[in-house]
């Protein structure tokens, strides 16, 4: 056991020639003058060859060792700290050097007789053994370095027995100086196992390969760059080309655009490259021009392709465990027992599971039917997490169908409190019924109101979730029809609706709620006009502020986009993209309402309503050809605007109005004026008449206008809208019937009176509310 400490050393020392070898008689060679062996057996030849190899190896190693020893010395000198060890070492090295010198001497006589050499060798071996013995004696203070030195000698001597061939390979492989250096390293830890050595060699090879590959790559890049993409001529652009060529061209153009100074064609401006890129993207991904334009503006060029490609592929199928009926772990087990491969969707969610593969349809297992889970995109769990519903709260989901998020809210509330799930479409609201019953949600009221009028039904919610209807540009992988079906007008419609819904959602919330007062706005669109711009509009028109969503991942919202400047706090909103988060494109913003007062929009709302898409298009006039339809649109918009201004200028209106009102109407109006003495009343009837006119003129216009007008008057009267409709109907009837004006006026005045009463009531109730 006492030898254990020197275990390695003793082992090394035993690796020398065995006793048998020493005792063996030396072979006899007869050598001719030319140096060739006269007559040798096969074995003898082999031995000779081995010896030669050994000789070479030894010499090389000696040289390296010398070099190394010198380096060591220098280092040691530098290290003044441990001088004793260095002095100890030096003589040892010298010894070995001396022996090596001897060896050299013996080997540097190639023409000399082999016999002599052989005898020498024996001597040398003896010497070596002596050295070993000495070392062993000295090993009392065994230092690793010393051992190493000893082993080096040993290996040099005996390696031929086992590893001569390996050594040969080594030599073959040492192509250049670098490798030799590596070899020296290798020598340094020569007490490694052959496996380790091989591994090192492999590593070396790999490095070399990597280097070569890198060079090659560089070369290729150079080739590509040399073979600079030349901009196609106009005729070439119009020619149809193969889809693979389009792809290549997209990549080329992207490359040029990313390093524009270097690769550009000096005669072509950047816009031309970009328009070519857009055109190619349209063909390659089959988008319409408008949407590609939006995406080009939204994403940096590096991300653009990633986004578009990610929009082609399906997102992983995710399910949400229904905590009302089961737990995530139990559900995962149940599904795994059915042969499905499921995994948690990530640390951020406690209920989400990803289904990688399933032999059974995951939407029809008995567990699904029993309501233990439902299919829901990963992104759809985010708004509810942001909303953070508390138990016993009153919560509204304004656009709830098909009830995925709403049931999530109920699950978080543990079926306590009150949940209103609303959806404008009655058929879709039925889907909520099915899901809620399946999932066991019992604290809910499901109704189908127009979300824009919900505050007439009920107010004072603690939290409201508004997952607004949108263009769906974030879920193109789910519904590719978006690619071609959406244009400027659709986006416009979307964001107008979203604004109205968001304002209404804010109005439904009770700011003084002890636990809540929050609104979460989310869409599955990535366009800023449907997201940040809508929220910004709400910030301007209601007493709300943005707060942190509580989601710890996702990109920041934009605080500015192109020509638009949003409120800086919009950075607190979160954006999700298919290519970065592997979930549907999504936007989540959380608002906190801090007062129930609805500020009179003294700011010019028109300023807000300016069509920035229009502004954008004017930015890029070169690209966007002003089509007739566009012009028409602008015209109609102008009309609307002028009408709006009429709405405001109350007194001046009369004259203007009379110009486009039928004579019958004129009569009515004049009668009205006579009959009704109060100014306020008059104004309102006028407003209504205006609306009637609008309706008569063009229905679309009225639609928009009514919406806007409502918003403006919102502060004053909510109930008025309902009444307003009646009056509109009445007035239209009157027109149609062409009955005499007096009757009509009587009706109108009645209506006006009723309206006034209603208004007073509303005022009172508002006061009470506040």
């Amino acid at each position: 056991m006492g030898r254990k400490a020197k275990f390695s050393a003793s082992e090394e020392s035993r690796r020398g020639k065995g006793k048998k070898a020493k005792r063996q008689k030396e072979p006899e060679f007869r050598i001719v003058d030319s140096g060739k062996v006269e007559k040798l057996g096969r074995r003898a030849k082999q031995r000779a060859a081995k010896r030669k190899v050994k000789e070479l190896v030894k010499r090389e190693k000696k040289a390296i060792k010398n070099k190394f020893a010198k380096q060591r010395e220098v280092e040691d000198e530098l290290k003044n700290g441990i001088e004793e060890t260095s002095t100890k070492r030096q003589p040892l090295f010298e010894d070995s050097d001396a022996s090596s010198a001897e060896d050299d001497a013996s080997y540097e006589e190639p023409s000399g007789s082999f016999k002599a050499e052989a005898s020498f060798e024996e001597d040398e071996n003896d010497d070596d053994d002596d050295v070993e013995e000495e070392e062993e004696e000295e090993d009392g203070d065994a230092e690793e370095d010393e051992c190493k030195v000893g082993t080096l000698d040993d290996l040099a001597v005996d390696e031929d027995g086992s590893g001569a061939e390996e050594e040969e390979e080594d030599e073959e492989e040492s192509y250049d100086e670098d490798d030799e250096d590596d070899d020296s390293d290798e020598e340094d830890d020569d007490d490694e196992l052959p496996v380790e050595r091989q591994a090192k060699r492999l590593k070396k090879e790999q490095e070399l390969e990597a280097k070569l590959a890198k060079e090659e790559e560089q070369m290729q890049i150079n080739v590509v760059s040399k073979d600079v993409f030349h901009f196609p001529s106009e005729t070439e652009i119009d020619e149809p080309i193969a889809i693979t060529d389009v792809e290549q061209r997209i990549r080329d153009v992207l490359m040029v655009l990313m390093n524009f100074k270097q690769y550009r064609d000096p005669e072509k401006p950047r816009t031309e490259y970009i328009s070519l890129l857009k055109k190619d993207l349209c063909t390659y991904f089959s988008y319409n021009e408008f949407l590609v334009e939006q995406f080009v503006q939204l994403f940096p060029l590096t991300e653009l392709m990633d986004f578009l490609e990610a929009s082609e592929t399906q997102r992983p199928l995710t399910i949400r465990a229904n905590t009302l009926k089961t737990r995530k772990r139990d559900l995962a087990q149940a599904l795994i027992s059915r042969g499905a491969n499921v995994e948690s969707v990530g640390k951020w969610s406690t209920v989400g599971l990803v289904v990688y593969e399933s032999p059974v349809p995951i939407g029809a297992t008995p567990e699904y039917l029993a309501g233990h889970y439902l299919l829901q995109g990963a992104s759809s769990m985010l708004p509810v997490m942001a909303l953070a519903p508390q138990e016993n709260e009153r919560i509204l989901d304004m656009c709830a169908a098909p009830g995925g998020k709403a049931s999530h809210i109920a699950a978080v509330m543990k079926n306590t409190g009150t949940l209103f799930a609303n959806d404008v479409n009655k058929e879709r609201a039925r889907a909520i019924v099915g899901n809620f019953h399946r999932l066991g949600v019992i604290n809910s009221v499901i109704c189908s109101y127009d979300g824009r009028k919900f505050s007439e039904v009920l107010k004072g919610f603690d939290r409201v979730l508004l997952d607004a209807p949108c263009s769906g540009t974030g879920v193109i992988s789910k519904d590719p029809s978006v690619k071609t079906s959406k244009d400027k007008q659709d986006i416009q419609r979307c964001y107008n609706l979203q604004r109205e819904l968001l304002l209404e959602a804010i109005d439904c919330v009770n700011a003084k709620s002890p636990t809540g007062g929050y609104i979460v706005y989310s869409t599955c669109s990535v366009l800023p006009e449907e997201n940040e711009w809508v929220v910004d509009y709400a910030l301007k028109n209601r007493d709300v502020k943005l707060v942190d969503t509580g989601l710890d991942f996702g990109n920041e919202g934009f605080s500015s986009f192109r020509n638009l400047r949003f409120h800086p706090s919009l950075k607190l909103a979160k954006r999700y993209y298919p290519h970065t988060h592997n979930m549907d494109g999504f936007f989540v913003a959380k608002l906190k309402k801090f007062s129930n007062i609805i500020p009179n929009s003294t700011k010019n709302p028109e300023h807000d309503n300016t069509d920035w898409l229009e502004a954008k298009s004017s930015d890029n006039e070169a690209e966007q050809e002003g089509t007739q339809s566009d012009e028409k649109q602008e015209e109609s918009k102008e009309e609307i605007k002028s009408k709006k201004s009429e709405d405001k200028g109350v007194k001046q209106k009369k004259s203007k109005k009379s110009s486009n009102v039928t004579p019958d109407k004129k009569k009515q109006n004049s009668n009205l004026e006579r009959n009704e003495s109060k100014g306020v009343k008059k104004e309102k009837t006028k407003l209504k008449n205006k609306k009637v006119n609008g309706k008569v003129d063009s229905k679309e216009d009225t639609k928009q206008k009514v919406g806007k007008g409502d918003k403006k008057k919102h502060s004053k009267n909510v109930g008025l809208k309902r009444k307003g409709k009646n009056t509109i109907d009445n007035a239209v009837d009157d027109q149609n019937k062409q009955v005499n004006g007096v009757q009509a006026v009587e009706k109108q005045s009645k209506n006006a009176k009723r309206k006034r009463k209603q208004k007073d009531l509303k005022r009172l109730s508002n006061k009470n509310d506040q």
């Binding site: 029993a370 009150t418 019953h437 399946r438 066991g440 019992i442 009221v445």
Partner: protein, 180 residues
């Protein structure tokens, strides 16, 4: 939204007691607040009074659903229990039938349960007793009527029906519109 008439209340409770017997009163006397039955367009909803208060502000035209829908009164004046009531029937059920995994799917597609698919049955189930159907791992699958008593089941032919199908959770997919 209105209270059930006495007649209809009687119909409803008779039906419910066929499944859960005297446990019906547990639906009414709950420790966690008052729960009531309300009728809207022939549908019967089971809901807490607290929720009802809020639901009353919803106009009938825009009202879709509230709490849990138990079923509806048919044109012939009977009460038809919907599968949506299963959440309340299953925990209180007096007579149960468990079906084997091989027969689960069949039942969920709206078929009767035959002897071969019968895993377990409550002891001393009388013939034509209303039963709740479970899967072997106690997942409520639906409800029906026992076609044979427990004793008869033991000696029945493997293909003989032991439970007539009334409603199953497969309807959530098959018949989403009919749930209300």
């Amino acid at each position: 939204m209105r209270r059930l008439s006495d007649e209809r209340t009687k119909l409803l409770f008779e039906k419910l007691s066929k499944f859960i017997g005297p446990n019906v009163k547990l639906l009414i006397d709950r420790p966690d607040g008052q729960y009531v039955f309300r009728e809207h367009k022939e549908r019967v909803f089971y809901v807490s009074e607290r929720l009802l208060k809020f639901a009353e502000s919803v106009a009938p035209d825009h009202f879709v659903s509230l709490g849990t829908c138990f079923g509806k009164f048919t044109k012939s004046g009977k009460f038809l229990l919907h599968v949506t009531a299963l959440n309340y029937l299953a925990p209180y059920a007096q007579f149960k039938i468990w079906v084997k995994p091989s027969a689960e799917q069949q039942f969920l597609y709206g078929h009767n349960v035959n002897k071969a698919g019968l895993g377990r049955i409550t002891e001393s189930t009388p013939k034509y007793q209303n039963v709740v159907v479970f899967s072997m791992n106690d997942l409520p699958l639906g409800f029906g009527v026992a076609a044979r008593s427990t004793a008869e089941c033991k000696h029945a032919d493997p293909l003989a029906t032991v439970c007539f199908h009334q409603a199953d959770i497969g309807e959530y997919i098959r018949n989403e519109e009919g749930l209300l």
